[in-house]
């Protein structure tokens, strides 16, 4: 892991804006966000449904489907502008440098083809010089990495459990030794015990192989245990970016605070907690000021008029976008 303070981050996102073009309106799902992912870092992107985190994942992977449209911004990976990549460059980018694991990827495995073929297909497509033998050897290596007996390489997807299938998808994501893996809710569809297993495994692999992870989920608690830094998104914007250790113990943004209070504890007296009242704004007609203001218990007049900017606060070692902090 690079420790030089002037080393370039692995991925730099500036002003990324993604819109969904509807029949009669345009919904701005992501509104000009800025963040970095460093080498060997696990960066978590947290937020609830509709906040745009999945849209960000797809945009970074250049997989924005119609009617989605990346209408502005820049995504620099190792210095190159990903949004201007042509077809050929994209092919090298996807899977070799950046790979992905999506929610229910385990259901995206082709049910009529043995798993070995599916993982070998990926290897052979991107590294044809390995040939069939080389591809199979790599496949065996990957299976061992994720803890599945290589003897099961030729089984069909339905012969594995949900957790194992997700592990297979992780193996496929790792097959070409990428530098960044984007994971969008990789464990949401799994049970709690299996979930923990998989996440722990990813962290182990990360330490072993040195790749970075962009980990996207709505489960803030899970993220805190395993990520280095966490960005909290609300309604298409980043409201707070902080180290995992301080995001719940010392939250700066009211939304982060309220989110932290939404998890019932396992100890202490059983008492009533409150969630966050109201719902997120309509993405087609965004309010002028801070998007969280209508639901914020501490909203002031300035909050309704001007949108706060994401600022760095050295004292707390974190960034937050809130007028209350000024």
């Amino acid at each position: 892991m690079s420790s030089s303070p002037v080393s370039r981050p692995l991925m730099e996102v500036r002003g990324l804006t993604v819109d969904y073009v509807g029949e009669t309106s345009v919904a701005r799902a992501v509104n000009g966000i800025d963040f970095d992912i460093r080498e060997g870092e696990a960066f978590g992107l947290a937020g609830e449904s509709g906040c745009g985190k999945s849209t960000v994942a797809f945009a970074l992977a250049r997989l924005t489907r119609l009617p989605g449209l990346v209408s502005g911004g820049s995504v620099r990976f190792g210095g190159e502008e990903v949004l201007s990549f042509g077809k050929a460059r994209l092919k090298a980018y996807r899977w070799r440098e950046v790979s992905f694991v999506f929610q229910s990827a385990m259901n995206a495995l082709n049910p009529v083809i043995p798993v070995s073929e599916q993982i070998m297909d990926v290897i052979e497509t991107h590294e044809p010089r390995l040939g069939e033998k080389g591809a199979r050897a790599r496949a065996v290596e990957m299976f061992e990495l994720v803890g599945i007996p290589p003897a099961r390489l030729d089984d069909y997807p339905h012969q594995f459990s949900g957790g194992m299938r997700q592990r297979i998808c992780i193996a496929i994501a790792l097959a070409l030794k990428p530098r960044l893996i984007i994971m969008d809710e990789p464990t949401t569809a799994l049970d709690v015990v299996v979930q923990r297993d998989i996440i722990e495994q990813i962290v182990e692999l990360k330490a072993q192989l040195g790749f970075s992870v962009l980990f996207i989920t709505h489960d803030l608690g899970l993220m805190i245990e395993f990520c280095d830094r966490i960005g909290v998104m609300y309604s298409g914007e980043l409201v707070e970016v902080a180290p995992a250790s301080s995001i719940l113990t010392n939250p700066q943004h009211p939304y982060t605070k309220a989110l932290g209070n939404s998890f019932p504890p396992l100890t202490g007296p059983r008492q009533r907690l409150e969630g966050i009242a109201g719902s997120p704004p309509d993405l087609r007609m965004l309010p002028k000021g801070c998007r969280f203001a209508p639901r914020c218990p501490h909203a002031m007049q300035v909050c309704a008029d001007t949108a706060p900017e994401l600022r760095f606060y050295p004292a707390q070692q974190s960034e937050a976008a809130c007028h209350l902090l000024n």
């Binding site: 002037v6 730099e12 002003g15 819109d19 309106s25 970095d36 489907r65 119609l66 009617p67 820049s74």
Partner: protein, 343 residues
């Protein structure tokens, strides 16, 4: 983690990357892509109907069908001739008095066309609706009740599907001597419901495991009510699709049967027009006006129905609709020197 202070982009006082293209505002984007807020009148209709009314293909199909139906209904207003009687000299070319000319027997083609349309369209739509209804009833029952009922009904569905359509219709039609259009329509209805039944059964099977159906059952709703109010409205697009395709099949099959001579030659329908034109060697003698009008009429009806079906498909599957914006989005990206994401 120790590099936090130094390499946080904002801590370094990093300027916004001037290479990053600034995104247009939402309104600017709408203008650039040609997205217009719709007029309000459609919002008062139910969402399905509103979607259909704003769909170009669907409305084009509906308009064509309306024209065909209206001209057939208003036949007496459009022509003074009798479709079954001689109206003029044989094989007169289209002209002022006989807009589409006359047949070998001297009957006015235009008159035959509009009167014949009544029968052809009635039989086509009638058989289509009947087949769709039979298919719906059998498909829903098989899907919802399952078990024995499903086994028995599926058996019949399979029988009807397996028997080849046109040969079967020909066999039945020959047994009835000169089959009038009504008989043909009946035969088509009774043999054409298989496909609709199959698709509706599959849809019903998938719908009945949905929780809102279970919720209705746990609320104590009667079975017939569940079928009618919970399940059926969620399958409307399939029923529509089944009806449209059934009608196309019926119209074509009816014309085909009459063309090969199995129909009642004294009836006036588009199919019998083709039969007589063929009999009288119309093309060989250069009388194209005897063959083309019924052909084009049948084609137009089929095409219009298919357009309506496209619209229904697009409404049920919004992904098909998104393709309308591709052009605008590609141009937007090209202007900024970027390429589309998914190829």
């Amino acid at each position: 983690m120790s590099e936090l202070t130094q390499s946080s982009p904002l801590a370094l006082g990093a300027q916004p990357d001037t290479g990053a293209a600034l995104a247009p505002t939402q309104l600017e984007l709408m203008r650039e892509l040609g997205v217009k807020p719709r007029p309000g009148w459609t919002s008062r209709l139910s969402p399905g109907l509103a979607a259909f009314v704003t769909n170009g293909k669907g409305m084009a199909g509906v308009v064509i069908l309306l024209i065909l139906v209206l001209t057939s209904l208003c036949a007496p207003l459009l022509t003074d001739f009798d479709p079954k009687r001689r109206a003029g000299k044989p094989h007169v070319e289209p002209g002022y008095e006989h807009v589409l000319g006359t047949t070998r027997m001297g009957k006015d083609v235009f008159t035959q066309l509009v009167y014949g349309g009544r029968v052809s369209l009635a039989v086509g739509f009638g058989a289509g609706i009947a087949a769709a209804m039979i298919g719906l009833a059998i498909g829903i029952s098989a899907g919802y009740f399952g078990g024995r009922v499903d086994d028995i009904l599926s058996f019949f569905v399979n029988v009807v599907l397996v028997l080849p359509g046109l040969p079967l219709i020909i066999v039945i039609a020959t047994m009835v001597e000169e089959a009038s259009p009504l008989v043909i329509g009946l035969v088509l209805a009774l043999t054409g419901w298989g496909w609709a039944a199959r698709t509706i059964r599959t849809q019903t099977l998938s719908l009945r495991t949905r929780e809102f159906v279970l919720s209705a059952e746990l609320m104590g709703e009667k079975k017939w009510r569940i079928i009618l109010v919970e399940i059926f409205p969620n399958m409307l697009s399939f029923v529509m699709g089944g009806f449209v395709l059934g009608t196309i099949a019926a119209i074509l099959a009816e014309a085909a049967l009459e063309f090969i001579g199995l129909g009642d030659p004294n009836a006036v329908t588009w199919g019998t027009m083709l039969f007589w034109a063929q009999n009288n060697l119309a093309l060989q003698s250069g009388a194209w006006w005897e063959i083309w009008p019924p052909c084009i009429a049948i084609m137009l009806t089929g095409a219009a129905l298919v357009l309506v079906n496209f619209a229904v498909d697009e409404i049920t599957n919004p992904q098909l609709r998104a393709s309308r914006r591709i052009g605008g989005i590609r141009r937007f990206l090209n202007r900024r020197g970027r390429s589309a994401d998914v190829f």
